[in-house]
């Protein structure tokens, strides 16, 4: 067939369907394990114990999210971008990574940062307004939050060019949202990644919304359909199914490590909370939709599976809660006790080498700040 006729839907309102057989699902919303000949092999090694650990991760990052939302309400954070609902997408992919892989996230991947071993205070440093970045990217092998939509996809691609030049088998993985797929940068990243066949994974969390815009405004066909046209194989996975996400990411990782080049993953999920704490989603989406997605909650389905297997014992529940409590407490403490940056820090690290012009501004501002002290002294002397 020479003409690719697509059966296009006719309006923006009918979102691409996110149900049923058109994505990879290993755990159904009710917790039943579904067989999949292609992807099961990738998670054969996942023991009940490891499932329980994935469960704990998801509970913990949901708790981090809740706690941070509280901190924002209490005025301790200026803003917070919730990950509520996207726990499986973040833990399933984050746990598929090796230490020497490098992550280029957007602003919403705080769950992934947790997987990378971030100090809990460092997660909220940016959102408190204390700094533009919370951690040393080279300590976690994870870049700090990127606000410019899609920009990080190119950084990951360039980083992967470096990996390839270095003859390493590390992988660069970049996260972005459904909205980001409309940006030129993300599309150019696919062009470069395909052209140079570099080990990069494009991990799109399609959480159905870009602030108030439904995914159907960005794309009239599945987002995962985009990449093959660039020569990049893609996978559409149930983003609320931690096992399926793990399997898909592992498969893509393997391809990348073994010289197979880039892969695009669309993780179909849902932003259960507001875009950020500053957003009011009631203006643009209705309860019916939220209810529908609540039934597909990534944590409850794993809970159901674990229960059905007798893994989710009261002891486990207790220890998971204790862990979540401890993490939340640690984050809160670190947040509240975070030392404020010093005024003269505004001038630090603009350049890595001396810059006379800026030094002059800095010295003059120091004199300005001192002049208040001086004024005071002079005032006293009068």
């Amino acid at each position: 067939m020479l003409v690719d006729e697509l059966s296009l839907s006719t309006g923006h309102d009918d979102l691409p369907d996110s149900e049923g057989d058109n994505f990879i699902q290993l755990i159904a919303p009710d917790g039943r394990r579904r067989e999949n000949v292609e992807f099961d092999p990738w998670v054969l090694d996942v023991s009940d114990e490891q499932l329980a650990s994935l469960y704990q991760d998801m509970v913990v990052i949901r708790r981090i999210d809740t706690e941070a939302t509280y901190l924002q309400r209490q005025g301790e954070l200026a803003l917070w971008p919730p990950l509520l609902g996207q726990e499986a997408a973040q833990i399933g992919s984050g746990r598929a990574l090796r230490e020497d892989d490098f992550v280029f996230p957007s602003y919403r991947e705080n769950g992934v940062a947790y997987c990378r071993g971030v100090n809990l205070g460092d997660i909220v440093r940016v959102w408190r307004g204390n700094a533009h970045s919370g951690w040393d990217p080279y300590e976690l092998n994870m870049a700090t939050p990127q606000v410019i939509i899609g920009a990080q996809s190119l950084h990951a691609t360039g980083y992967a060019m470096g990996i390839k030049n270095d003859d390493s088998d590390a992988v660069a993985l970049t996260y972005f949202g459904d909205g980001a797929t409309s940006q030129g940068d993300v599309n150019e990243a696919m062009v470069f990644a395909a052209s140079f066949q570099v080990p990069v994974i494009f991990f799109c969390q399609n959480n159905q919304w870009a602030i108030s815009e439904p995914v159907g405004l960005q794309a009239r066909v599945h987002i995962s359909s985009r990449a093959p046209g660039f020569g990049i194989p893609s996978i559409r996975v149930d983003g609320n199914d931690v096992l399926a996400v793990l399997a898909a990411t592992r498969m893509a990782m393997h391809r990348a490590r073994t010289g197979g080049g880039p892969t695009f993953i669309e993780a179909v999920t849902y932003r259960m909370g507001p875009h950020t704490t500053a957003d009011d989603p009631t203006r643009y989406r209705d309860k019916a939709e939220m209810d529908q997605w609540a039934a597909k909650d990534p944590i409850s389905r794993l809970e159901a599976l674990l229960k059905s297997r007798g893994v989710l014992t009261p002891e486990l529940e207790l220890s998971v809660t204790a862990k979540a409590d401890a993490v939340a407490r640690e984050m809160r403490e670190a947040c509240i006790n975070m030392p404020a940056p010093a005024p003269m820090d505004v001038f630090s690290h603009v350049y890595s080498e001396p810059n006379l012009a800026l030094d002059t501004q800095k010295e003059n501002y120091a004199r300005y700040l001192q002049s208040f002290a001086a004024d005071h002294v002079e005032g006293t002397n009068q």
């Binding site: 200026a78 940016v126 643009y284």
Partner: protein, 341 residues
């Protein structure tokens, strides 16, 4: 005449423009149901339809390029850039297309595009949400650039910007969206106020203080404080950043002999330099002291916990006034020292 907030005044201006001219079309991210992240377009999609108030895909180059195409077709697009820091993906389309098409086509194609940009800092936001990119555009020939400072100008100059056949960058000081003022909703866009004129907002004889956008209010406060100290400050709200109404500034400086310019944008290559240079050219023999710039530093916009240090405030402006007047100021001791060597 009625009292309304800044944001409301812009909303009213957009509404009037949509009513008056079926060729006016709004484009932007989240401007529809949500009414924009600042609610400036609240209710407009509901009343004018999604073909006139268009939520676009998330791509600023795309928005701007499509606006160019709409202008080719005879439309008058009004584009909202969600935050100052997100205008850069559209920079190529703005600089190479929007600004140049009229020149390129020897006047055959007009680009009556208004680009609304909430700009400036002071609202405690993360990176890229507090920038003052106006100098990139004032250095770009073919564009007009305005920055509004009060609800009445916000309303009137928006109407004029949309009515203009030239592309206009329209900067809205986001931290002032909540301030209220009296607004007369003129039936016609023209109505006396020329898009290119500055406004003397307080008369004074000792020193001229030029600013625009969010700092106009700060400058007025500074003028009041200075008055208590016996200094009479003439505050000029530039309003039009390109072209600049130098006649108004010149008249003032010829009278006062002293000039302070304040803006949030970084100092190097900011508007302050252009104003200081042109006024020095035009008033060299009237200047008692070199023009003083009170601006953001030559740094990327800092984390919000530090933004109060970066942003010119009342005290820093007063310090600049003292400097221009040759009075005791934060640098006097150091300058004395330096001159002693």
């Amino acid at each position: 005449m009625s009292t309304m907030t800044f944001g409301r005044a812009i909303n009213a201006g957009l509404r009037k423009a949509l009513e008056d001219d079926p060729k006016v079309i709004l484009l932007g991210e989240d401007i529809g149901k949500l009414g924009g992240v600042f609610r400036v377009t609240d209710g407009l999609q509901k009343d004018f339809g999604s073909h006139r108030v268009v939520d676009t895909p998330l791509a600023e180059a795309g928005i701007m390029g499509c606006a160019v195409g709409l202008a080719y077709r005879g439309y008058r697009p009004v584009v909202e850039i969600q935050f100052d820091g997100f205008i850069y993906p559209a920079f190529d389309q703005i600089v190479c297309q929007v600004a140049k098409l009229h020149y390129r086509t020897q006047g055959k194609v007009t680009m009556p595009i208004t680009i609304r940009v909430p700009f400036g800092g002071g609202i405690g936001s993360p990176e890229h949400h507090s920038e003052s990119p106006e100098a990139y555009f004032t250095h770009t020939s073919g564009l007009r650039v305005v920055a509004v400072s009060n609800p009445q100008d916000a309303y009137s100059m928006l109407r004029q910007a949309i009515a203009s056949n030239d592309p206009v960058l329209y900067f809205e000081p986001k931290r002032r969206y909540h301030i209220k003022g009296e607004v007369t909703e003129h039936p016609e866009p023209g109505n006396g106020l020329a898009l290119g004129s500055a406004q003397v907002v307080t008369r004074g004889g000792d020193i001229t203080l030029v600013t625009y956008g969010p700092l106009v209010r700060t400058a007025l406060d500074a003028a009041t404080a200075a008055a208590d100290d016996g200094v009479s400050v003439e505050v000029i709200d530039l309003r039009s950043l390109s072209p600049i109404d130098f006649d108004t500034v010149e008249t003032s400086v010829r009278k006062t002999g002293r000039l302070v310019i304040a803006h949030e944008a970084s100092q190097s290559g900011g508007l302050g330099a252009e104003i200081a240079t042109t006024i020095t050219e035009r008033c060299f023999n009237y200047l008692e002291a070199p023009p003083v710039r009170i601006t953001g530093f030559d740094i990327p916009y800092p984390p919000s916990k530090l933004e109060s240090h970066h942003l010119p405030d009342l005290d820093r402006i007063l310090d600049g006034v003292d400097r221009a007047l040759g009075r005791q100021n934060s640098l006097s001791a150091w300058e004395r020292d330096r001159d002693d060597h």
